[in-house]
Amino acid sequence: MQGEKKRELGRIEGGSPPGDPFSDGSDATGFTGTVDVTHGTFRESLPAGNMTVGEVRRRFRDRLDIHPEAVAILAGVRVGDDTRVRAGQLLMFVRQGGEKGGLLQGAA
């Protein structure tokens, strides 16, 4: 149960699995792990570990319909396109803007 919670924690928080801290993140086959990438209703686990946010944005722009003005949120923190994404992290592309609620009193 504790192990499951830790795995879930890694997935939510974006922590990478324990391993060699000097590794470049790839295994013997060059696979660098999956990253959960979301935009709107799109949510996919993609082999994007060790890519930069900008590379993910360009590579999956059409596939996830990523809006050009969408900002990148990595593990709940706004990041730039140069940030490198680690395996197990959650990368959200969002378009923060507008507000909820009525603009006028009584608008419901």
Binding site: K5, E8, G14, T41, G76, V94, K100, L104, A107
Partner: protein, 307 residues
Amino acid sequence: MAARAGKRRSKRTVPVVTLEGEEARVQLLEGVKGSVPLVDLVDGLHPQTPDSVGAVLPDGVKCLWPATSGGFIAVHQTPPSVFLLRWIAEDSPAPYGVEARYRDVRVALPYVIVLALFEGVWGRVPQLSSRNECFFSNQPLDVAGIDTELCYPALLNCSRFPTEPGRPLSWICTQNLDPERFAGRPSLPASLRDGLHALLQHLLESAFNLSSEHHELSSWYTESVAAGIDPRIASLEKWEKATHDDPLFVLDVPWLSSGRSLGAVAARMAAGNVDAPEPRPVRSRSRFRTSTEVARVILNAQGRQES
């Protein structure tokens, strides 16, 4: 003459099915008779098999629930995640509107369950309505299915109304959601994808403010804090700190229970926000109870063929 005789013979070789009132009767050539309630016949003709009517469902859609109006409810689940939300600032000069000021807050949320009502207008593709609701759950819908207990979401702009029939339980304020973003799509898949995308973006990516506290009874964030359900969400600052310490804490918070399962909430929405006696998807039973209703279908179909 031979043709007439043949016609008479063919009449005698086929069973006769009669629909009258709420009953369906059959009479075989051998004199065998039988009858069942019409709803049982209709259910037998239209068994409850899953059918997305050709639509490829967007990620996160867990089920579609038929609404009696001819539309449907799309049930969407967002897994537990850490979000960067825009939240009304403590020192905002206005509670909502153009004067309001916001700040970023980094908070974990549990499973976010959205029930999006797509209304069917006769002859048109169903499109997103303004009657959509949001809930929290501490477990994924896959575990208990439609029996999953839904909790009220501790979010601003998810509105609490007076408890009475016809009122939503946890309405997502979509006053500022531009219908142009999803209206008039040519196909069901496009309407579902664009409507749901717009709704989820509006829910989680537009700013949260105190509009519900002014226009409706309250928001479920204010209600949750007032009820003192958990010290870790007693304020946004505490929620942010708890998120930093352990983002999974949200799966242990005793969110305010709606007292209803997913099935009961969906059935309630499908019936126009009236608690339904049976929290199960209602298909043919609600539409074809009498021979008059079946006759209407036959005559409408005949009309389409003749026109």
